[in-house]
């Protein structure tokens, strides 16, 4: 595997670094490219932001169970009890 990567190849390494441990050589090649490429450095930042944002839980704003669903589940529970 060559050490000089283009953006397309680097983008694959960047997303895979979120899903598996890269090999030493892959990590080195990725870092090398990121040093000289602002677009890919931003891409990397965006990928990390995406992960961070998905972990923000603000579920209180979302609707809860509807009365109908709640009643259905409650009556199922009474049946089973």
């Amino acid at each position: 595997m060559g050490l000089m990567k283009n953006c397309k190849e680097t983008s694959v390494l960047v997303t895979q670094s979120l899903d598996r441990g890269l090999t030493f050589q892959e990590r080195f090649a990725m870092r090398l490219h990121l040093l000289i490429c602002r677009n890919c450095a931003r891409f990397m930042k965006q990928m990390h932001l995406l992960r961070t944002w998905l972990r923000i839980e603000n579920e209180a704003e979302q609707p809860g169970l509807t009365d109908k669903a709640r009643e259905r589940i409650a009556s199922k529970l009474r049946e089973e009890e």
Binding site: L50, E61, I73
Partner: protein, 181 residues
């Protein structure tokens, strides 16, 4: 009113929101919550009280969510996903030398309440637009926190396949969010 019914009162909304966020569907989320309470009813004597009720119920829910996604992926999505992804969509992001066709933008991190709620809306919208099989695998990885191995086992796909799909999901979400934030 027995314990499970009281639990439904106290934790039903929380569990529903938790499931809805990972399943992208009100209907599937309701099913998941119902299954959690039925399972909790059967297992209530095994609940030792060493964790909070909510933690215990959420633990059951996590397993149900993976089961539901696995089922959806195999039964519902798999036959349809045999039509190949349009490779050109992804190719268009790069020029013929493999450089980005367009400059990447600096997203910045939203801090104000307003920015955050807009971001939330953008994320929801982009998840809705994502192809179902990509949304399912991405949800298992990022929202349920499964490892690659666990995903491959659950969905019965190869490691390479999983990486390619996660890569595509991320590229799609990036493009989609970039237009909205």
């Amino acid at each position: 009113m027995g314990d499970p019914e009281r639990w439904l009162e106290e934790h039903g909304d929380y569990l529903f929101r938790y499931a809805r966020r990972r399943l992208f569907s009100d209907e599937l989320a309701e099913d998941a919550v119902q299954e959690v309470f039925l399972a909790a009813l059967k297992a209530q004597e095994r609940f030792t009280g060493s964790s909070s009720v909510r933690t215990w119920l959420t633990g059951i829910l996590k397993h149900k969510i993976v089961d539901i996604i696995r089922h959806q992926y195999r039964e519902v999505t798999a036959p349809r996903s045999s039509d190949p992804d349009n490779e050109d969509d992804w190719e268009a992001l790069f020029d013929n030398r493999g450089h980005w066709a367009e400059t990447s933008r600096d997203w910045g991190d939203p801090v104000s309440e307003f920015e955050r709620s807009r971001l939330r809306e953008a994320l929801d919208e982009c998840f809705r637009r994502l192809k179902p099989n990509l949304a399912q695998i991405f949800s298992l990885r990022e929202l349920s926190g499964l490892s690659n191995d666990e995903i491959c086992k659950a969905l019965d796909i190869t490691t390479t396949n999983a990486w390619v799909m996660l890569h595509r999901a991320r590229l799609f979400l990036r493009e989609c969010l970039d237009m909205r934030i």
